[in-house]
Symmetry: C2
Subunit: 343 residues, 2 copies
């Protein structure tokens, strides 16, 4: 992903919410990364304490955390996200230091941000931001989370193309009004499938650091690209209904799921662990349900004979961000412990 950003002369600002780890952050630093994205003030504090000094909090400003924001802005280059006059007013009244401001624009996901079509509202909001010297307007920030609802790589590309066209149109409108701005785009599915980055200044993918079963289903990566697995002990076998029970449930994997071909939910795919990591995804075998601590795995006939109670098997998570957040620490294949902000 870094090579892709370099090749296209983009600022690479990877989202660190997936790994949440200073140690994994160092791998990024060694690859030349110096700007990052996070999703909370507490995550910004953690990474700032670990030597990162250029951080965007890609979440609407939470005014209850203004003290922490002021503290951060004293020490690092901090960028905040806004989409509302009221927030600008309150922020300007409470800020003690300069911050960068990105305006959150909604090009179709409809989670947060101002609709991209409301160009005069957007202009007014930027002019309002520019009234306050501590607020340094930087650009437009978009997260096309609706790529997670797609059924093909082409559909991801189409969403991106539509989104970018609208943004470029907005940017021209702003330029005609003497406002220059960057365009910052996120989401791993898009950044994984597109090759043409014309018009974009900054990318903020995060999940790609580990990928997961959902990203494979979207066509954003191959199963071989998944870089994290949960080692779970087998605690029961049910030969009759071809199911095994693992100690690995909703408090480990989360309750996120994808839909299988027959519409039934899949909470994880299964691999056999080996000395070098793990093997291929076991066919016709998946986590079919999770309760608090239990995972129930539907297994193919060959596999159930191979696995014994007490064995550890690997579960590739459906959503690696949530699994990492729940597990709080992990190990490299060499047995080195990796801590996260929640360890």
């Amino acid at each position: 992903m870094k090579a892709k950003a370099d090749k296209n002369k983009l600022r690479f600002r990877p989202h660190f919410k997936t790994h949440q780890s200073a140690a994994v952050g160092e791998w990024f630093r060694e690859a030349g990364t110096n700007a990052i994205t996070v999703s909370s003030v507490s995550m910004a504090k953690y990474f700032a304490a670990n030597g990162w000094d250029d951080i965007t909090i890609a979440f609407p400003v939470n005014l209850a955390e203004i003290e922490e924001i002021n503290q951060l802005a004293t020490n690092i280059n901090l960028n905040l996200l806004i989409a509302d006059h009221e927030v600008v007013k309150l922020l300007a009244a409470e800020l003690a230091n300069t911050v960068g401001i990105y305006l959150k624009v909604d090009t179709g996901y409809h989670r947060s941000g101002i609709l991209v079509e409301y160009n005069s509202d957007i202009l007014k909001l930027i002019l309002n931001v520019q009234d306050f010297p501590l607020l340094q307007f930087k650009g437009l920030l978009v997260h096309n989370g609706h790529t997670y609802k797609t059924k093909s790589r082409q559909e991801i590309k189409t969403i991106h193309q539509n989104s970018l066209e609208k943004l470029v149109h907005l940017k021209k409108y702003l330029q005609n009004n003497q406002i220059d701005c960057e365009i910052s785009m996120g989401d791993t599915p898009t950044m994984s499938v597109i090759e043409n980055f014309d018009g974009i200044d900054e990318i903020r993918p995060g999940n790609f650091v580990f990928y997961d079963v959902m990203q494979v289903a979207l066509g954003a990566c191959m199963a071989d690209d998944i870089a994290v697995a949960m080692a779970c002990p087998v605690v029961a076998k049910h030969m009759g209904r071809k199911e095994i029970v693992i100690y690995g449930g909703a408090i480990h994997l989360s309750k996120d799921f994808i839909q299988g071909d027959d519409g039934s939910p899949i909470y994880g795919k299964i691999v056999l662990l080996n000395e070098n990591g793990w093997g291929n995804v076991v066919p016709e075998t998946y986590v079919k349900s999770v309760s608090q601590e239990h995972g129930i795995i539907k297994v193919n006939a060959d596999f159930i004979d191979k696995v014994m109670i007490g064995d550890f098997i690997g579960v590739l998570p459906v959503h690696s961000c949530l699994a990492v957040n729940l597990m709080r620490e992990y190990y490299t294949l060499n047995g080195e412990k990796i801590e996260t902000m929640n360890s």
Copy 2:
């Protein structure tokens, strides 16, 4: 729940996986509780360290934790759950101290346990258990988790009645073979709706300590019975589509949901916080989606005018066990901090 158990002369062995807290455990102790259920060895260790000396781990034995199990069994009365000859053999070979053994029986949930109809298999397994002096056979343990798929209180009662009839039948068969045993039953929906406990020796509900939106939907409790809420700051308002955005997502509430009347998912219900706690559930207002940190709330027209960016609102969780596990600590209405095993 304690009064119900006392009235029916049942052993009350509440499941502590919902609150996960020594402080909340003390409230149970003050009410006369001295036996508890947990769902993991680590949870057993935590509560044993906090003075509980009669604990059932209601999860299939995880042989990878045999050292911790031996340690626990030295200090407390520990009950384990088995359903397999292989586990009995391995456990008997590794155990250093006496443990109580419950046999997990499956009366229809099909998560784990031996099918209740396989009476001769069950007899053989119990006789196998009785071959080992360190394994003290105690009884049959059932969790009717399929009550969570029901649409009415009557349906819950019917599941319970069918389950209990099969268990009583099995118990008689075992008595005819000179084996006496207890019947231990779990699950909050059943224990909330039934009044007749004939034939049952022990109950193990857990969720009732806080209840949640799912239990209200099942008819197990009223909305007023929900005893835990998440205070979330409002970070954005979208007047056009009548939605607000809160800082409260999948890493706070979990991704568990119930289905609304129109089939769409509901990840939490909304209340207004006040000095004494919170008010009634706000009508036509609910968490419609969650991503890692964001919650999107569909709100009714009155409510959106009342709520300002920066306000805190209350979210009643769909699944309190998972929300507590994610949040790791909570506060009483007096502002007293309550820690959990994960604080």
